[in-house]
Structures are given as structure tokens and as C-alpha cells.
């Protein structure tokens, strides 16, 4: 076999003075980067920096460093580009990757700053005063009609469409059972139920063991229709039609046959060992009117619970969003170009789509201009990395945000971007039983609850410093944002002023 030209990305160092040759690292490495030849010997080329070995080495004997190998400098021909070409020259294939866009595009979240109260309006202490994050996802009427009962109490005459109530404006993003392990799915379901938010299933159906979490689940119906049946559609508080995904707009999905074991086979309703191929488009949706028909077909099936439509943020997103809302969607899920994936062609992940910040601002504006903003809630996603991103997304106009990568990191993910290999050493993005059992759903759920708790507490601090005590007073309130280092046109698109104004 011809030796690969591609140098190792990482160098694994084992301190043989400290090493007691217990081989725990070998058991933990799922990428075959460690061997035992009278002592632990690294195979540097295989290492992905998942940190599993060094986390579990009882002697602290292992370290992983980026390979310092020198490349002749070229600003244009970065080492990464050279490696990509070597890989393609060796294989002739499309390069695959996992997680989200990693190229150094400007991160607009980091160019936005929040306001705070000083003197003229008092800030509010969330430890002493009520501070409300409760959020309702779903279509709202433009106005309400009331009358009064015999005893003078207020009574609602308008019929309110069903809503999905969440205790914090953060939900778990759709990541399929198949891309993720059952334990990862279960951890998110437990956490969603405990904290009072929802988990989106992603396109791989819902394992029957998770049906008891139905009050905290939004089931997804994607182009492959995997695991979609009447009971499934009603196994949550709403249904999402997935049109696109920020990491790979316009691209379908492919779950290789080796991941289709007994349980996934049952859940997805496909034979064991067959590849699960999601078509790029829905083959019954070639136009907006087709989408409308599917939305209403689903609504008929689920007693008019909220239907969400998820799209990737692309150039014309505002007009598309308007069409989707007019087509009857109750929730619009916008996924920016940094959104994650279990597997995507690298070239698509890194070069297609637009940032969520701009897409969200454009969509919120357009729906307001058309007077239909009440008709749908907006969920923003595509790399929400902290509670500050949550606050900024809400100020730009989102009703809530979805976290995918963030939730995986909370469970242990190292963002090594090897989800597509099925070798996830942390038991998250894998179906190998010896790996999936590494993730204890109860422990992972607690870590997720802790994250939601931490971010929600931080959100309350942010609201308090802004002098408001309800999340709806920040929602769409772009006056509380300022831009730093953004050009005039970008500021204009986002409807915010530069810092200092």
C-alpha cells in the first residue's frame, strides 16, 4: 500500500516515566491512534484530538499537540488546502466533515454589544425581582377579543391556536437518532423534560422508548420520511418539516448502512444494513404551494398543533420565509451557515449559506413589513455559542434559539468534527455499542440541565441589566444592540446603530 502523503494533524506524546501501562488509553481510543508494542505507541496520523485518552489516563501521562510541522508559507495555499488536495488526489472523493463551518468568516455576534441601564432607568436584580423567560412558540392572532363573565372576570372570546410553552427561550436543535446515539437522544429528552423545554428529533424518527417525553418533543418530517407514521406525528407537541440545514443547504443526507442496526432500523422503518438516503429536496415539495399542502396535511393529522418549517439561511431567505409563513407555518426555524451537521461535504459546509445574524434580521424585518410577524414564531440556530448569543438573537427578533453543537459539547463533545466516521469516542455521534454505552444518559442529561440553567441565569442577568423583567421586552428590541466594526450597510440590514450613537 502506498503511504499517504498527508502528515499527521496532531502529535500524541506519552510520558513513559509516568505511564503504568494500564492500557486504559487503548480501550478509550476509538480512532485506532494508539497501539501497544511493549509500551503505548501512538499512531499520530489517526489522532483527531478527541482527548478521550488523556481525559481517562489515570497518570496524566498523555498529551496531544498540534503537529508543528512547518509548511513553506503561502497565504494563498494554506496547509489545509494542500491537505485537502492530497486527500482528493488519493481517493478521488468528496471530502466529508462534521460539525459547522470552520472558516474564519467574520462572526457578527462578536461585533454586537448589549446595552445596560445607568441612572435614568434602574437596572433590576434578578435575584430579588421576578425575571421572566417563559416563551410560547406558535402562531398568534393579530388581536384578541374578550368579554366579561357574570362576575366581571375577563373571558377570552378568540380561539387561541395551540402553543408550545417553554421555560427558557432555548431548545435542543434537531439531530437525528442515527447521527446521534440513542443515549444522546435520551439525555436531551430527559433534560428537556426536566428544564421545561423541547427536543427536536431530527429526521431519524423517534425511538419508542422516548415516547413518554412527548410533551417535550417536536418530531421532524424530512425528505427521507424516515420513521414517519401517524403515531409518530402525534408523539410530540408539534411537527417540523425540514427543508434545509445550515451546514448543507440544498444537500440531502446519507446514513451509511453500517449504522443501521436493529433499533435504528425499527425507528427509521428501513431494513437493517441499508443506507438511509435523504433526498436533497422533498420530492413532494417542488414549490411553495406544495409546501402549503404538506403543512395542512400534517395539521389535519395532528389536530392543528404547531407546524414548524426549517430552512437554511440562504441569500433570498426573507422572501422565502414570508412565503413559508403565508403557507401556514406556525414556527419558522432559521439555520445559519455555521449550523452543525453529522456529515456534510466540506465544500458545502464551508461555502454555502449566509450568517444567521443577517438572515434573522432580514426575516424579522420582512415579516414585520408585511404585518405577518405574529403569525409565526422564529427559532434562530446555526451556532449559538453562549447566553450572549441567545440574548443578541432575541434582540434581533428571534422568539427562541436552538442549540445543537452547544448541547453536544455539554455532553462531552470535543468538536473534533469526525461525527461522520461513526467513531465518536464520547458515545455521542456513534452507533458502536461499546462506544454509545460510554454516555450515561442520566449524567449527560444533568450536564445539559446545568447548561440550560447557567445560560438562563445569565439571560436573567442580561435582562436585569437592560432594565426589563420579561424576555418579550428584549425580543426584536434592536435598540438595545450596537455594532462595533460593522460597515454601514451591514448595520442597515440589521437595523442597529453603531456603538457611540
Amino acid at each position: 500500500m502506498v503511504r499517504s502523503y498527508i502528515p499527521a494533524e496532531f502529535i500524541v506524546e506519552v510520558d513513559h516515566e509516568k505511564c503504568r501501562r494500564c492500557k486504559r488509553c487503548l480501550l478509550n481510543c476509538s480512532f485506532g491512534a494508539l497501539e501497544f508494542k511493549d509500551r503505548v505507541t501512538p499512531l499520530h496520523e489517526q489522532c483527531v484530538a478527541c482527548h478521550r485518552c488523556l481525559t481517562f489516563c489515570p497518570e496524566g501521562a498523555i498529551s496531544v499537540e498540534a503537529n508543528p510541522l512547518g509548511f513553506k508559507y503561502s497565504h494563498n495555499w494554506s496547509p489545509q488546502l494542500r491537505k485537502n488536495i492530497w486527500k482528493q488526489a488519493e481517493t478521488g472523493g468528496v471530502l466529508l466533515t462534521g460539525m459547522g463551518n470552520e472558516l474564519p468568516y467574520p462572526i457578527i455576534w462578536d461585533c454586537l454589544v448589549l446595552d445596560a441601564c445607568q441612572v435614568t432607568n434602574p437596572s433590576i436584580d434578578p435575584l430579588r425581582e421576578p425575571m421572566e423567560l417563559k416563551t410560547f412558540l406558535g402562531s398568534k392572532p393579530d388581536f384578541l377579543e374578550f368579554d366579561t363573565g357574570a362576575d366581571g372576570t375577563l373571558r377570552l372570546k378568540t380561539k387561541m391556536p395551540p402553543q408550545i410553552a417553554i421555560e427558557t427561550p432555548i431548545i435542543f436543535a434537531p439531530m437525528s437518532y442515527g447521527a446521534l446515539s440513542f443515549n444522546a437522544h435520551k439525555a436531551m429528552a430527559i433534560a428537556a423534560a426536566e428544564f421545561g423545554t423541547v427536543l427536536e428529533t431530527g429526521e431519524g424518527g423517534l425511538h419508542r422508548d422516548l415516547y413518554p417525553y412527548k410533551d417535550h418533543i417536536i418530531v421532524q418530517c424530512a425528505s427521507g420520511r424516515f420513521g414517519v407514521h401517524a403515531e409518530y406525528l402525534n408523539a410530540g407537541v408539534g411537527v417540523e418539516i425540514k427543508i434545509g440545514q445550515g451546514a448543507k443547504p440544498g444537500i440531502g443526507g446519507h446514513l451509511p448502512g453500517e449504522k443501521i442496526g436493529e433499533e435504528i432500523s425499527k425507528t427509521r422503518m428501513i431494513p437493517r444494513g441499508t443506507d438511509a438516503l435523504s433526498p436533497a429536496p422533498h420530492h413532494d415539495i417542488y414549490s411553495i404551494e406544495d409546501l402549503r399542502q404538506l403543512i395542512y396535511a400534517i395539521k389535519e393529522a395532528i389536530d392543528y398543533k404547531p407546524v414548524s418549517v426549517k430552512i437554511a439561511a440562504v441569500h433570498n431567505v426573507a422572501a422565502i420565509a414570508s412565503g413559508i409563513v403565508r403557507a401556514g407555518a406556525d414556527i419558522l426555524y432559521l439555520d445559519g451557515f455555521r449550523g452543525g451537521t453529522g456529515a456534510s461535504p466540506t465544500i458545502i459546509r464551508d461555502h454555502v449559506g449566509i450568517p444567521i445574524e443577517l438572515a434573522l434580521a432580514a426575516v424579522d424585518d420582512r415579516l414585520r413589513q408585511e404585518g405577518i410577524r405574529n403569525q409565526a414564531s422564529i427559532i434562530a440556530a446555526g451556532s449559538i455559542r453562549s447566553s450572549a448569543d441567545v440574548a443578541k438573537a432575541i434582540a434581533l427578533g428571534a422568539d427562541a434559539v436552538a442549540i445543537g453543537t452547544g448541547a453536544l459539547i455539554a455532553m462531552g463533545c470535543r468538536v473534533c468534527q469526525k461525527c461522520y466516521t461513526g467513531n465518536c469516542a464520547w458515545g455521542i455521534a456513534t452507533q458502536r455499542p461499546e462506544l454509545t454505552r460510554r454516555l450515561d444518559p442520566e449524567v449527560a442529561a444533568q450536564r445539559l440541565v446545568n447548561l440550560l440553567h447557567a445560560w438562563s441565569s445569565e439571560l436573567k442577568e442580561i435582562l436585569g441589566s437592560l432594565g426589563v423583567n420579561a424576555i418579550e421586552s428584549l425580543r426584536g428590541s434592536r435598540e438595545r444592540l450596537r455594532g462595533i466594526g460593522l460597515d454601514a450597510l451591514t448595520l442597515d440590514i440589521m437595523g442597529i446603530k453603531p456603538a457611540g450613537r
Binding site: C117, T120, N121, P122, I124, E129, P130, E132, K134, F136, K140, P141, D142, F143, L144, E145, F146, T148, G149, G152, T153, L154, R155, L156, T158, M160, Q163, R368, G371, R373, N374, A395, L466, G467, V468, N469, A470, E472, S473, L474, R475, G476, S477, R478, E479, R480, D492, G495, I496, K497, R501
Partner: protein, 389 residues
């Protein structure tokens, strides 16, 4: 300059910030109260303002023109008048045009040209060819049009049988300037302003009005950004660089356009907390839950105390955690509200009841009205009665 700053794109405005004092009186049996009363009351709270804005709203002052909309318009230059008056004559039956009476006051060196118009939309006005607006809607549209498009003109009052009088100065100066003592009204509100920026703009003084609604406000609306964008969805244009106008427009939208009761509208603006809503009986819980879900963007967050006057009564309202002062007092058919108790006692030395309204609970006083079933008894004061917490 004292009329209007340069026009701005929608989001690129400078928000005005101000602290304030306010006072209001209503005689529920429509007995006229001389202007000197409100002037005395607001003057006592002189230190709540800094001389950069003051104003009054009076109801029942134009009985001879009570069926006409009374437009109070300020103009920067003489040349600004022509275009506006041409528009008015084209679209309105004009009963009277006159200079708003005003007097020389040594501390007020510059002031805009002030004119008032008693008008009624023409039945065959030009827009009828393409639109079916009610008279009120047409007046709202006129106000928005003049305030947005006519750079040198600003409509600061547009209701029937009521008027706003405001400008840059301490209350006593503005009162003297407009001769407030010469007016008699059954509802009065007054305002003393302490702006911390954009000084010297006459349009920025309170009250803010639209049709019969008038608002005097002490506070800063921390949710201004979303309140404004919400109103824009319904065609309102917030032009005055100050957050108080959103209050006036929110009341107009919720009460006049969406037909919510004043009480319900107040519960949208100063919404009860979820924890309190959860404790209500099912039907009421659903009503208030829906109110918050649908009108979340109308929740006015941040410190405020307002007096909101309209053709049928007077309302006092605090933000939901009462971050600004508001005191109420009652004596017979008279209800007083003010930022400080002293301002009430200045004009009513022995009130029957003095109280501090609860956070978020409106104090609502109705005028007695012939033929509408609002008798003296019904015209009593209610305080957030529908929310039994």
C-alpha cells in the same frame, strides 16, 4: 431647531431620556376645574423638572366646537404653514383657524408658530377614491403624515373638545405662555420634564396625544425598541425621538383599533407576572395568558408612571414593579393623581382617601355620561378589579 431634528431612518433615532413630575385631576361629574389648580399642583414639584419641557392637557375646553377635531400645530418657519394648510383645506371642512393664544414670557425667547384648527374630515375628500378610512383613522393618518413628511410642522394635539399645550420651559412659564389659567376643564393633566438630552425641542415636551388620548409620563421605556417596531407593523410612525409617544399609540391601537377595554389594555402594557397568572381560575388564566402571548410586544417595560386621559376619563398606571412614584387621592367626585402627595395636598388640603396605587394596577376614573349608562355610581374608581389576586 426647536421644532424638529433632522429626519432619520426608522432605527437610527436618538432616544430621548427624561425624568419628570406629573399631576392630574378629574371631576367625575364634569364640573369645570380652573387651570390655575393644575398649575399650582405641578408647580409645587418644580424640582422634578429642569426647565426643558412642560405641558398640560385639558378636556372639555372647546364645547362650542365639540364635534370638530381640534388640531394644535407648531411650525418652524412661516413657509412651513402653507403646505400643511393646503392639505387640511383639501381634506377637511374647516370651522375655524386661529393662532393659539399665547403671551410674552421673559424666559421664553424663542417659540414656534402655534396655530389651531377646528376641522372635520370631508365626506368627499380625495383619499375616498381609494380608501375607506373612518374619520378617526383619517385623522391618525393625517397626524402621521404631517409629523413624518412635513419637516417644519408638528401636530401636537388632534382630539375633540380637548387640547394639549406644551413647550420648553418650567411649568409656570409654559402655563403663563399659554394662559392656562384662562381655560376650564373637567380633566387636567400637567407635566414637568427633566430631559437628559435633546434639550430645547418643543415637540418633545409632554403630553403626547393622538385623537382624544393624551399621556403624561414619568419614566424611561426600556422596551421602547420593540414597542416601536410593534406599532410600525400597524402603520404608526414614531417620530418624536421620545419613548412616551409609543404609550399614546399603544393605547390607541389596543383600545380604539383592537377594542380592548381600558382595563385590559392596561394589563397588556403592565402585564401581571406569570407566577400570578398561574394562580388564577382557569378561565381568567387563559384570558391573561393569551393577552401576554399576543400582546407581548406591547408590554411596556422599565420604570414608568403615567396619567392617561381620554374623552371618557382618566387613568393612572405604574410599571409592573413600580419603579416611579404615583400617588392618588379622592375627594367627592374629584380624583387627584400626582408624582408626590404634596402636589395633591397643595390643591386639596383634606382628601378623603390618599393611597399609593399598586404596581401595574391601573387607577381608572370615569366621567359621568348622559345617555351612556355611566352614572355617578358607575363612574367610581376601579383599581385593576378584573385581576383578583
Amino acid at each position: 431647531m426647536w421644532l424638529k431634528n433632522n429626519p432619520r431612518p426608522d432605527y437610527n433615532y436618538q432616544k430621548d431620556i427624561s425624568g419628570c413630575g406629573l399631576a392630574g385631576i378629574i371631576h367625575r361629574q364634569r364640573k369645570l376645574i380652573p387651570g390655575s389648580e393644575i398649575v399650582k399642583s405641578i408647580n409645587l414639584m418644580n424640582d422634578r423638572g429642569n426647565g426643558l419641557g412642560s405641558g398640560f392637557a385639558a378636556y372639555g375646553i372647546y364645547p362650542e366646537y365639540k364635534d370638530y377635531y381640534a388640531f394644535h400645530i407648531m411650525y418652524g418657519e412661516r413657509a412651513d404653514i402653507e403646505g400643511v394648510e393646503r392639505f387640511i383645506r383639501e381634506n377637511y371642512e374647516v370651522a375655524k383657524i386661529e393662532r393659539i393664544p399665547h403671551y410674552h414670557v421673559s424666559s421664553i425667547v424663542f417659540h414656534p408658530r402655534l396655530r389651531r384648527y377646528f376641522v372635520r374630515p370631508k365626506k368627499d375628500r380625495p383619499d375616498r377614491e381609494v380608501a375607506e378610512l373612518s374619520d378617526d383613522d383619517f385623522v391618525v393618518r393625517t397626524v402621521m403624515k404631517i409629523n413624518v413628511e412635513e419637516n417644519g410642522a408638528y401636530v401636537f394635539s388632534s382630539g375633540k373638545n380637548m387640547g394639549a399645550f406644551k413647550g420648553v420651559g418650567f411649568p409656570k412659564d409654559i402655563a403663563e405662555f399659554y394662559g392656562i389659567n384662562e381655560y376650564e376643564a373637567y380633566i387636567w393633566t400637567g407635566h414637568n420634564r427633566f430631559p437628559t438630552n435633546t434639550p430645547g425641542w418643543w415637540g418633545g415636551a409632554h403630553p403626547f396625544t393622538l385623537l382624544d388620548w393624551s399621556i403624561v409620563h414619568n419614566g424611561e421605556i426600556s422596551s421602547y425598541g420593540i414597542n416601536k417596531r410593534y406599532l410600525e407593523m400597524f402603520g404608526y410612525r414614531c417620530t418624536l425621538m421620545t419613548d412616551t409617544e409609543v404609550m399614546a399609540y399603544l393605547f390607541d391601537l389596543l383600545i380604539r383599533k383592537h377594542h380592548l377595554s381600558i382595563e385590559t389594555a392596561c394589563m397588556a402594557l403592565a402585564a401581571p407576572f406569570w407566577k400570578d397568572i398561574e394562580r388564577l381560575p382557569e378561565e381568567e388564566k387563559m384570558a391573561l395568558k393569551s393577552l401576554r402571548m399576543v400582546y407581548g410586544s406591547a408590554l411596556v417595560n422599565g420604570p414608568f408612571a403615567i396619567l392617561f386621559a381620554h374623552s371618557k376619563g382618566l387613568v393612572g398606571l405604574n410599571d409592573r414593579i413600580k419603579l416611579r412614584p404615583l400617588v392618588a387621592a379622592e375627594k367627592g367626585p374629584l380624583l387627584y393623581m400626582a408624582s408626590e402627595e404634596s402636589a395633591i395636598r397643595e390643591i386639596c388640603s383634606n382628601p378623603e382617601r390618599v393611597w399609593s396605587p399598586r404596581a401595574g394596577y391601573p387607577v381608572i376614573a370615569w366621567l359621568e355620561e348622559e345617555g351612556t349608562g355611566i352614572t355617578a355610581e358607575l363612574a367610581s374608581i376601579s383599581e385593576g378589579a378584573s385581576l383578583r389576586l
